[in-house]
Each structure stands twice: as C-alpha cells, then as structure tokens.
C-alpha cells in the first residue's frame, strides 16, 4: 500500500527550492481565489501524476486510488466515479464525455455532467500518454509501444500502429497532436511519426535523436514531450536528445538543437519556450532554432510543469513553488510557495489571469496574478 | 535381525535376450555394441572377454554369473561359455 512504499521505500531526494528574489525585481504577485481540500487518496507519486482538465463549468482530475473527480469551477465537489485502478496520465474531456485510462488497462467513458459510466473497454496494456480526442476518435499510446485509435462513441478499435520498443523506457510517453487528417506523435526510440488519422497509414518518419553513450540509460532518447505545430512546421523534443523542427508535409528536418527535455515546449508570439531536463529555460526562434535568451537560474531544479498564462511563462516545481518569467527577457518576475508538499502537475490557465495548481497532498488552489 | 550389510553389485549385466543376439564370427566392435565392454580388464589375455556379474544383497547370499567369450587371433568370436545360457527367442 502507498504508505508502506513511502515509509520504507527510499524517498526521492528532497527537491531543492528556488532561491529568494530581490525585492526590486518582483513585478508579479499572487493572490488565492480559493483552495479546496479534495476527496480521495492524494499521496501522489511524482511519476504517476494526474492532469487537471478544465471546461467552462467544471474541473476534472483523478487521484492515486482510482477516483475520478468532478468539481465546480469554484472547487466544490460535484461527483466522484470509482475506476478500477490509478490513472497515471489523468482524464481528458471532450463533448460532454470524460475519457480516462487506468493502470489495469481499462479505458472508461464517463458522462461529464452526472459522472455515469457510458462504456468501458480493455486496452491490453497500461496507457502511457494522455488521451487526445479528434475527428470523432480517441488516440493514445500504450506502454507496450502500441498507438491506438478508438471510436469515440463506443471505444471499438479503428486501427493500431506500433513500433518496436527499446529495452529501457522513460516513465512518460509523448502526447499525440492531430491537425486535419494527420496525426503527429513521438516514440520511445527518439522517432517522430506522421500518420494518416483515419487509417493509421504512415506518412513519414523522422529521427529526432540517435541513442548514444555506453550504457542503457545513456542511450535513452524517449520522446516525452508532445509535438508542437507551428505553421508548416512540427517541432518535437527528445529526452537526452535534441529539439528539432521538421516540415509538416515531408518530415524533412529544418533545424535541430541538442537539448534534453521532458516538458512540452510552448509557442507564444513568435517564440518557442523549452524547459531542459536539467532545469535551464530557453527561448528560441521557431524558424531557425537560434536561442534568443537562456535562464540558467533553474539549473538542478526539478520542474513539474510549464504553461503560458496571461502573457507570462508560468513554471511549477516539486518544491511547491510557482514562478513567472517575462517571455521577452527571460527574467524572473514573480515567485510564490504554494505548498511545501510540492506541486505534482503542470499549472492550468483558466483565463482572466487565473490558474489552477494541485499540491502533493491533494489541495487544489485557484490563484490569480496581482500587484506585488 | 542380522546386521545390515551394504548391498554390493559388481560387473556387467548380460541378459539372455542380449546373449541371443551375438554369434560366432562377429568381431569385437559388433559384440561390444550389443553387450558393452567387459568391466573386468585383463590386459594379459585380450582375446578373452569375461563378463563377470555378482550381487550381494543386504541380507542373504551372493549370486555370481560369468560369461566368457573367446576371440581368435584375427579378432573374430570363436566360443561363448559361462553360466548364462542364450535362450533364443525368449523375451528377456
């Protein structure tokens, strides 16, 4: 059981908090709209973290014991649905239905309004990427290297695509992005693939990074970040590999920059923001890959999430702090410790300069930017 | 009860069925393919193969059975003698 693991299992090294800021640099302050102690078992394991999903009138997320929760936009619990296992990649909401895959290899479709189960289906392996909903289909990656396309109505399998797996994998798989009829996703062997979203036929295949190094670990080049579409370009990033841009149609490589990254890069007014797995933050020109600025203050930090909110870059780390960065200059503009139990998953922007953050012990905060 | 003496078995087991399969004129290789080589080594008379068998059970007396094969100078089997009689056709 969980407690035993944490009590006896050697705990992860304590995450290092960010150093304090000088008063004059602080230009962004934070205020708490509300915070809600959530129902359920929230001793979250950092590598089994859920995702926060927000719609106009509800918030959805899943805990460590297999409960799927729906909250009102002001944090009040509306319904709980008991799944048959943990959901390491969290739920996805589309057209009034919440889709969630569990580590027992089951995919559930639950009505978003009342939390009633519509249908469920066996996947045969543990889902390892969040579910993407597009063209009336559900797309997700499984830990055995299969990519599934399921019919969104009943979960029947339309097509599957698979690549051979290296012997050692990273705990996360790449998300899937669909544009028109083409689907883009990364695999555990450092490859980026474009598939026809209707029948799964392979359009093109590009190599983001080649395994190098003399032991199994050094040779890991898993693609853990979801590809980013930018005009006629698709940008993908591999762990211990490169960030690279490829032409959407042919898969030819435009540019590549050596960097190891886990978090999905963010595209914002002509700049590409990427967080290296060693904690450095880069701003690059998406067309050429040249680095415009680099913030090395976060070296050695373990970041849990990076999002764009109200024109600011918003980061969160396992020490439980949220930090804002000015996208133009790369300087820190604000910092706040939300909870000493750490922040397990990326903050989610909910508009009107507000965002949601989930702490390690299961408290959901809605914060908003304010004067310092 | 008399004391327990260790069962001692010695030498080659030659069954009547196997003995029935060898006949005069066979060379040494053919004989040893059927009966195996004799355990009792006698370098002084290599033309005489002795298949000696004895068994002393934990309780009771010892039984001894010998089969002696003579080979001619050119190595072909000349005579078969000893306690075990080859019974043609009988299932061993």
């Amino acid at each position: 059981c969980g407690v035993w693991n944490w009590a006896f299992g050697p705990s992860a090294p304590a995450p290092k908090p960010m150093t304090a800021m000088h008063q004059e640099q602080v230009t962004v302050g934070f205020a708490t709209d509300w915070q809600a102690r959530l129902y359920g078992n929230w001793r979250l394991d950092p590598y089994n973290a859920t995702q926060i999903r927000v719609t106009d009138h509800a918030i959805y997320l899943s805990d460590d014991a297999g409960d799927l929760l729906a909250l009102s936009r002001s944090g009040r619990l509306r319904w709980v649905y008991r799944l048959n296992g943990k959901s390491p990649c969290g739920p996805t909401v589309a057209d009034g239905v919440v889709y969630v895959g569990t580590d027992r290899g089951t995919l559930y479709a639950v009505s978003a309004a009342q939390g009633k189960k519509l249908w469920d289906v066996q996947l045969g392996a543990e889902p390892s990427s969040p579910i993407t909903v597009a063209n009336q289909r559900l797309f997700l990656q499984l830990s055995n290297g299969h990519l599934l396309a399921l019919d969104a109505q009943n979960g029947s399998v339309d097509w599957t695509f698979s690549l051979p797996q290296p012997s050692l994998l990273l705990r996360r798989s790449s998300g899937i992005v669909v544009s028109g009829q083409t689907l883009y996703t990364g695999f555990a062997d450092g490859k980026l693939l474009a598939l026809n979203a209707d029948d799964g036929a392979e359009l093109w295949r590009a190599t983001i990074a080649i395994p190098h190094g003399n032991n199994e670990l050094a040779r890991m080049v898993d693609v853990a970040a979801t590809p980013v579409l930018d005009g006629n370009r698709v940008i993908a990033a591999a762990y211990q590999g490169n960030v690279a841009a490829f032409s959407k149609d042919s898969g030819e490589q435009d540019w590549a920059r050596p960097m190891s990254t886990l978090l999905t890069p963010i595209l914002h007014d002509g700049k590409l923001f990427a967080a290296g797995s060693d904690g450095q933050i880069y701003a690059m020109d998406p067309a050429s890959g040249t680095v415009e600025w680099r913030n090395t203050r976060f070296k050695g930090q373990s970041l849990s999430g990076m999002t764009l909110c109200d024109g600011k870059l918003l980061l969160s780390n396992y020490a439980g702090q949220v930090i804002t960065i000015d996208p133009q200059t790369g300087h820190r503009t604000g910092q706040e410790t939300v909870s000493s139990s750490g922040i397990q998953t990326a903050p989610v922007c909910v508009g009107k300069n507000r965002f949601l953050v989930l702490s390690g012990v299961g408290t959901l905060y809605q914060l908003q930017f304010a004067k310092p | 009860c008399s004391i327990y003496r260790v069962n001692v078995q010695q030498g080659n087991v030659v069954s009547q069925k196997e003995l029935a399969q060898i006949h005069k004129g066979m060379d040494k290789a053919e004989v040893s393919a059927v009966l195996g080589a004799p355990l009792l080594q006698d370098p002084w008379s290599s033309d005489e193969w002795v298949y000696s068998y004895s068994d002393k059970p934990a309780y009771g007396s010892t039984t001894v059975r010998n089969v002696i094969l003579h080979f001619s100078r050119d190595g072909s089997l000349q005579s078969i003698s000893g306690d075990v009689k080859a019974l043609a056709g009988e299932k061993g």
């Binding site: - | 010695q10 009792l40 080594q41 006698d42 010892t62």
Partner: protein, 227 residues
C-alpha cells in the same frame, strides 16, 4: 636495446636494479623469504627489464617454495616458463614447479592431485632436458611418486576385496601390476588379484596370476601363501 632512449639513462636504471636485486637476495640468504619476495616484486614493478628481473622471478618462486607456499611457488615458476620459454635457466623453473607440487603431497592415501601434477611436471623436465642438472633428482622423486601411487591403488584394491567387490579389487590391483610395476606394492597386488579371480570363479585367470607371482617373487611372502 631500443635505441630511442638516451644511453646513460639506461645505465643508471641498470645499476638501480642491481641494488634492489641485491637487497632481495640478501633477505633470501638470511632466510627471511617474506621480505625477499616483496623486494623482488618491487624490483619487477620498477625495472621489469633486464637479467635482474628474470633472476628475481626465479628467486621469487624459490622463496615461496622455502616458505612452504607451494601454490604461489608453482604459479611464479609457471609465469617464468611462459615469459622465457627458451631461457637457459628454464629447466630450473620446471624443476622449481615440480618440487613445489611435490611439497603438497600428504601421502599415499591422501589427496592424489599433487601426486599426478608433480609427476607430469617432472616427466616434462626429464624428457625435454635429460641432461639438466636437476633431471637426476627429478627421476628420484618420480620413482617415489610411483611407489606412493602403487600403494594407494593397492590399499583401494584391498578396501574393495574386504567388501566382496571383487571386480573393483581386481581392476585396482591390475592397475598396480600394469601401470606401477616398479612400486613395491606390485607383489601384494598380484596376490590380491589372484584372490579376486578365485572369488570370481575365474580359475584360469587365477592360475595365470599365481604363475606370474611365483615367477617374479619365488621366495616372496605371498608366494608362500599360495600354497
């Protein structure tokens, strides 16, 4: 030597090696074999070239032997043989290896492994260097090993005879009679071979063996027993 080194540099390393060698040799002569071995090893690590290194390797083997460290002595001798197969002293190395293995022999009825090892090493020495200074002593020790092996197999033959395992006793005594003729155990082995054949009801073989016993040992104790 390789010409790419300045001449004088080589000379003083030669002298330094000689000093270290002398240090080891005097320790060895004092009988302090432990320090001697350490000195020789330092010498080899510092100056692995030249006649001093070779002599040091031989002396290391000898010192180990004197200390009673038979396995280390045999290994050191073996290393010399591999490095310098045609060195003029290599017969001494073979001899050292042989006597180290010989040192491990406990007796006829104990571990037979050193018996065979020592015998094989001495046999190589005697075959390849028949006129070596050490060949004579090697032959003497080989004869002693034959006696021990003869006695060992005779004892095993009698072990099985007493337990009515006559095929086993016959074979073991046969081994003594054929393979170890020179060992004194041959006479008694012939007698027990005769007894085993009798117990196996093999009269012809028994007579044959008795005849050989009478012929070879007319006044022997066991010939009388034949009656």
């Amino acid at each position: 030597c390789a010409s790419d080194k300045p001449k004088d540099h080589l000379l003083d390393s030669h002298a330094a090696a000689a000093v270290m060698y002398q240090k080891g040799k005097s320790a060895q002569d004092r009988g302090d074999y432990g320090t001697a071995v350490r000195d020789y090893q330092d010498l080899e690590a510092m100056y692995p070239y030249g006649p001093y290194a070779e002599q040091a390797q031989l002396n290391t083997a000898y010192s180990y032997y004197q200390q009673g460290e038979s396995k280390a002595a045999a290994a050191a001798a073996e290393r010399f043989i591999k490095l310098h197969p045609v060195n003029p002293h290599v017969d001494y190395a073979w001899y050292l290896k042989g006597i180290s293995q010989y040192q491990e022999i406990e007796g006829a009825n104990w571990n037979p492994v050193p018996l065979h090892q020592a015998f094989d090493t001495f046999e190589t020495l005697v075959k390849r260097w028949p006129k070596s200074a050490y060949a004579a002593d090697a032959r003497l020790r080989m004869e002693k090993i034959i006696d021990l092996l003869g006695k060992r197999n005779l004892d095993i033959c009698k072990f099985y005879y007493v337990r009515d395992a006559y095929v086993a006793s016959a074979n073991r005594c046969q081994e003594v009679v054929t393979k170890y003729q020179l060992s004194p155990a041959r006479e008694e082995a012939l007698y027990y071979l005769y007894l085993s054949y009798k117990r196996l009801d093999l009269a012809k073989q028994a007579q044959n063996t008795a005849a050989i016993l009478r012929y070879n040992y007319p006044q022997g104790k066991y010939t009388k027993k034949l009656g």
